[in-house]
Symmetry: C2
């Protein structure tokens, strides 16, 4: 028997972990990056009442629609919205093909590095900039341009990737709502096709759940291939009164919960509030100059050109009982831990030869009647999980040592387990089947000892990049992260 | 012990049915209303290859997007699209407020019953008709108008409700695709807000998965209430080249499968075909004058004004290897069995007092740690399901008699069952827990006898209206229908 460690394919691991499930799920905090306080309390109370069967406020799953503004609500929008950085980089990349830009505004100023001067022209300048950089190519080409840019584009102050500046508390909130049957949507003034290429990876929000501003497109055949060409003509501005219009056009349901951070979100929140029954509205107030930015002008905070949260909006929030999040007071952390720093581990026992044979025979029988199932192969190996956790990657050697000591002391090679039944747990289209072993006193002690040994190196949760398994389904990713984050205490003992 | 019968809440019934699950699922025909032939074969082969793990054509679940035209593809569009009947009825209803209509075309002809004359004005006449009947109210008001109209509106030839003229083979296809991880969308030239109020109930397609033509709307406050007002101005025509544009705007992914029936769908199918990897395109050819309508003009069928399937489209389908469905040859049935004619039954045993006590105690323990769970009450009673099936409502008395005879002969009150373990099956956010009894030879025989006794009165499947339980979640509805339809042989024996 040897220690299998590091990251494992969690789908396979689910199988045997379940064999040790001996207690009903205990409550864990779904919003660990939120401080205890009125905002967190309001969110949890609302979600609880609309999802509790028999509650007078119960809302059926299909009507659990949550809409989120993007810039300043889900990720950082200062000192300038990310899409503007994208446009500026595109101007630089396209400049060689546009010699006239050296004298033509707003391009001339931009190319000299004078962003403020370039944008002094206001909306017309911004629209001209957008059309010059966002139109003229096919939708597939534009998607690729965004996909190439986003993993390279860093914030001027923090040096982080923009995508690493999504707010950790909001990522937890998105996951919490989805775990409670909500469909989460972005409803942003930003460009719909600028957000879609990365929104799924960063927020777990798929393309069909992104509502945004758009330019017109036109279907045509180019060299016998069907394409959509992006035209330099505005189609829809998804801001202010446009947000309810966009929601109605694309979602066709009124939100149950709506989240924003600026005056551009007012009408979305009003529209949400206007629905029947219980509804929930929230605004993020950026009052945290130390960890992010502080801007209003509400409550005397500095004013900004884009993303302003006015005193009038603040007053309306008070009057209408909208929740206002103080970033400074309500958020324990602002940005996620860095991706590379966390690894998902699975410490497991390998069954003996007799058990491996049983597993192989059962798997073959199952595949004979259901060929779509998993085969037992290098990434799907029969095993007995003791613990799954997120640990700091830098501490991996210490984790090996600590777990190794416990296993050596426990004399695991002499342990015997009695297999006594099969079980099957549906998981999406496929599900997992397994063999249940009777838990013995010594193996439960072994598990408890391992948990204690690893504890000093653990962190509460981690990103999907902490796994080595392929991950291309955000729903599965979120489930796996949730599973590993809560393995202790949910699945142990 | 007594016979509980008629329709039961299936969520509760799932519990004990599982106790008898002794075999892995057997293959059942997911498309029973399709004749064996090239169209059915092409569909099943495509779905199998894109959903089989390890297949070179495997497509991850989030990319399984299927788009369906509505008029003529999902429901009958002859002699005139349903939305036109709606507009005509609206003209009649609104006429008293518009005395000018008695002399103004196209209204004057319509009010005299001369539909052909009214529509002789072509598109401008149709647009004028639409604006006069579809604009001016709020979105909520319009939704209510559609909701009030649709349960009353009948086809002039068959006398059926229009919604009863959805094609049974396409309903099965929608369910089959969803069961294989597809998201199903409507992409129709029809009005988006005309379809949304009933598409979920009729097709299982929720509002956010409906793409269609639209007029502009405007957000405003009326008497302090936020509303969206429908303006008499075209916003988007979701037809021909507009279909790929609408798909890109609202879904943001290229379809993996696309289904249509007329020249208006050509570009949607081309756009689908233009994607990378395996794709699937299908056109329904209406060549069945006996059971529905026959129109082309492809293949020498009669021509029509709206919904034409030209010879050029037919030739392109041949050249591009699109599947063409012959309604006459490929469809076993065209329309669903009438709703009232089928009832879902659950023939079950009531446990004895000792077992009821155990169930109540377990339920109380579960609720203590998980208050969102189901309580054991009048609609959630502990029971042991023997069989679930759809039967003809007219035969219910015969079903009672046949089942009663078997139960009387079997002396069920003397049967003993040994409970030996608990189980839990996740089902969405909640799941069901239960107590497993060891199957005895006599109870397995009883179950087999009951199945045989009820067999003569069964039908393969039924609509959600065959249940008395509340149904407001289409995903659950589809799962329940599938579950009962396949209970024999999947869950028995």
């Amino acid at each position: 028997m040897k220690i299998g460690s590091k990251q494992k394919l969690i789908r396979a691991a689910l199988v045997c972990a379940l064999a040790f499930t001996a207690s009903v799920a205990l409550a864990t905090d779904p919003l660990p990056s939120w401080n205890e306080g009125p905002a967190k309390k309001a969110i949890v109370e609302f979600v609880t009442k609309v999802t509790t069967a028999g509650s007078p406020d119960f809302v059926p799953v299909p009507e659990r629609i949550a809409t989120f503004d993007n810039d300043g609500t889900l990720w950082c929008e200062q000192p300038m919205p990310v899409q503007l950085y994208f446009a500026l980089d595109r101007v630089k990349a396209l400049a060689p093909q546009h010699p006239e830009w050296t004298t033509q505004e707003p391009f001339a100023s931009l190319l000299k590095g004078n962003v403020q001067t370039a944008l002094a022209g206001g909306d017309p300048a911004v629209v001209e900039l957008m059309m010059a950089t966002h139109a003229g190519m096919t939708t597939v080409e534009f998607e690729q341009i965004v996909k190439d840019w986003i993993p390279t584009a860093k914030h001027p102050k923090t040096g982080k990737l923009f995508t690493e500046m999504a707010y950790q508390p909001m990522l937890e909130l998105l996951a919490y709502l989805r775990a409670n049957g909500f469909k989460t949507f972005i409803v942003s003034g930003g460009g719909i096709e600028f957000m879609r290429p990365w929104a799924d990876k960063v927020y777990g929000i798929p393309p069909e759940q992104v509502v945004g501003s758009s330019i017109k497109t036109k279907f045509e055949m180019r060299d016998g291939k069907p394409v959509l060409v992006r035209l330099p003509e505005l189609n829809f501005i998804d801001d202010k009164g446009g947000k309810p219009v966009g929601i109605n056009q694309q979602i066709g349901r009124r939100p149950l919960m709506a989240f924003g951070n600026s005056d551009g979100d007012r009408e979305m929140l009003e529209y949400t509030e206007g629905g029947s029954g219980a509804r929930f509205e929230l605004l993020v107030l950026h009052d945290d100059a130390a960890r992010e930015y502080a801007y209003g002008p509400a409550k005397g905070l500095p004013n900004v050109k884009l993303g302003a949260f006015t005193q009038a909006l603040y007053d309306q929030a008070q009057k209408d009982d909208w929740t206002v999040v103080s970033m400074k007071n309500d958020w324990k952390t602002v940005f996620p831990p860095e991706a590379a720093a966390v690894t998902a581990i699975d410490i497991l026992l390998e069954p003996d030869a007799a058990m491996l044979q049983h597993a192989a025979a059962n798997n073959a029988r199952l595949l004979a009647v259901f060929p779509k199932g998993f085969a037992l192969d290098a990434t799907h190996r029969p095993h007995i999980t003791l613990v799954q956790r997120f640990v700091r990657t830098a501490d991996l050697d210490k984790v090996y040592a600590a777990a190794g000591k416990v296993l050596a002391d426990a004399n695991v090679n002499n342990m015997k387990l009695e297999a006594f039944k099969y079980y099957y747990a549906p998981a999406g289209a496929v599900g997992v089947a397994g063999i249940c072993a009777k838990p013995t006193r010594e193996i439960l002690k072994l598990q408890a000892d391992i948990i204690v040994a690893v504890q000093p190196f653990t962190v509460e949760t981690g990103p999907i990049d902490a796994f080595i398994a392929p991950h291309d389904d955000p729903a599965t990713d979120a489930a796996i992260i949730q599973y590993v984050s809560t393995f202790v205490p949910k699945m142990s003992g």
